[in-house]
Symmetry: none
Subunit: 213 residues, 4 copies
């Protein structure tokens, strides 16, 4: 959340920079509002207020509410992919270690942050925004599942994973992660969920229980 009023010391950054700042503020504010209220219930007035700009300014950056929403989600998905794709390719590590690293990254970078809320937002609005659902499927789901499948197959080849059918349903591998995301939004106040622990247990199911030395 950058203050819209640049401190006097700063030498008045150029126009483009200022515009980018404003746009950023709008994006942040809109994201927050969309997450908090969903698409239909979000008021552009509130977005503008939260972003510290006038209502009309939003329309200098986005064609209308709908395309703002779609563009926002698309934009937000990119770092989501990046934060996951950033899994270090340690070829010498065990598959379990790789998956575990990946899972931890997910929990830290997604499940416990606003990125997780975006995932829930997509689940919530997807049916009304096929373009969003399509994009999400293409950029995140299909890629993510392909990556998981590759991991699973490697695990099977190396003998780390015994259930050969798992490769057909990589969804199983990520299911608890998604559960964690949804749990955060809906039930964490009723009963906290230790996502990291849960993922460990789940990985034990997949890879066999770790011999606790």
């Amino acid at each position: 959340m950058v203050s819209p009023k640049r401190p006097a010391t700063q030498p008045a950054s150029n126009r483009a920079e200022r515009a980018a700042e404003r746009r950023g503020a709008i994006v942040e504010a809109a994201m927050d509002e969309f997450i908090a209220r969903g698409f239909a219930a979000t008021r552009l007035d509130d977005v503008a207020k939260r972003a510290g700009v006038a209502k009309g300014t939003i329309y200098l950056h986005f064609k209308d509410k709908e395309s703002m929403f779609e563009e926002l989600i698309r934009t937000a998905i990119v770092p989501l992919v990046m934060s996951l794709g950033a899994a270090p390719p340690r070829p010498d590590a065990t598959v379990r270690d790789m998956v575990e690293g990946f899972a931890k990254t997910f929990i830290e970078q997604v499940a416990t942050t606003r990125r997780g809320d975006i995932v829930r937002l997509i689940v919530a609005e997807g049916p009304r925004f096929p373009a969003v659902a399509d994009f999400y499927y293409r950029e995140v789901v299909s890629r993510g599942l392909a990556g998981m499948r590759a991991m699973i197959e490697l695990g099977i080849a190396r003998g780390e994973i015994s259930n050969k059918n798992l490769a057909r349903f990589p969804q199983i591998l990520v299911a608890p992660a998604l559960i964690a995301v949804i749990w955060q939004s809906l039930f964490s106040k009723h009963a906290p969920l230790d996502a990291i622990e849960m993922l460990q247990v789940h990985l034990d199911l997949v890879f066999g229980e770790r011999r606790t030395t």
Copy 2:
């Protein structure tokens, strides 16, 4: 579309009955609309039209849109619980068989029907309707998880489940089922998902692979 003047031949089903019919029609229509559009985007005009009643009639049965939504969800959850709680208590069966039966019931009764959409609706609107989320947690989630935990513990006691930590995270057991529900709504047109098969594989992870004779 029932004629307002009941023909004299009809034994004049009493008023209460007629009212209940109307109310039922409204509930059905509202449910469909809420599922299709979400809370905020649903128009009571459309609900009334779909239910075949006048707009004002809705207000004879519900205080306002919000409480209608909450009441609807609550009402819809009951058969959800019932359809799941109806698991026959075969004490002689293996735990896996019990869980499997339960899972199949879920797939058939929930994941592939409108009930699944209701689950997604709760995920979507839950944060804006704490009362709904609370009710859902109390009536479905906590009970369901308790039941699952009991099953798991029985499985552990009987030696069917080796991972003792699983009892701490019964969410893991239901995670793929929830995935199936969400997948139906969002991605089934991109790639169909055989939920039954997926659950089988998942149960293989939990109970150990079935020796396919």
Copy 3:
């Protein structure tokens, strides 16, 4: 301008009647506003206020501002045509008498009333509302000119009109009438125009000067 509140003595006219009254009030109000401000500058808020209804009520009768405008004009043109077409077909009268009667009717029924303003409104907005211009041409202009041409030809045949070319330009016969309409709206406060007199003089040109005994 009918009072929206029916006097208590009246036995509460039925719904349809009330609706027609309201619609009539909206039409009146909208006509006045459109004439006074033109299409773009007319505010539906003002129309509603003037009609004594809520803004939303307008939308119970008209799809949107644009179609309201077009429908209004179309509706207003009908009595315009009628008031002109009502020229009594006195076959024994001279052509001049017929044209004169027609002209007087026009001056009395159109040029000096709000109907004249509607003509000016069509001139003003026609280019932006081709549908309006088309309708006006079809229903009023082409018919009116055809009628005029018939009169002129009759006049020529009877020897009342000597200039045979006039039949090719019946516009000439109506031009002063249109001038009168426009003059009313724009310049009557600068210099009043005695339209009746002017038409007499014009007819003298067409039919030859009357021998004022």
Copy 4:
């Protein structure tokens, strides 16, 4: 789109000249837009774009939209008057020849050009812009009618015009010309109108039919 930095080779036409150029471009663009859309529906954004200047630049030349419109019309009227007042004062010609020359000039210089659209624009917006209507009356209408009246009186004196009352309604003389202007804008696509021919016929009415030798 003129480069803001004038190349050194150019003898740097002074600022005032550049400003006048810009102002001219704005005037042209605004005129086109006002004619095409009317006052209220014209967007200064479009004017600026069409003129090739920034929106703010308009405000360096005009106080606001309203006064721009009024000033524009006033400015546009001047050449209108000039193009008409430029009637050569051939004292030896017949009055009919003079009027005919005048009429042809009008058809060529006004009715078939954008100037005619300006006349229609004044008819359309006049009631909302009394200043415009006043100015137009003062500068064009009253002068034009006075000129016409003088012609008519000369015609009467010379025996070319027999109807002495015509001098009281010089409007009759110009009515067909105005009709031609309006017809161009509204109905020329439905039925073309040969304005020159029509004016000839009209003059035959006024001056008596020409003996076609």
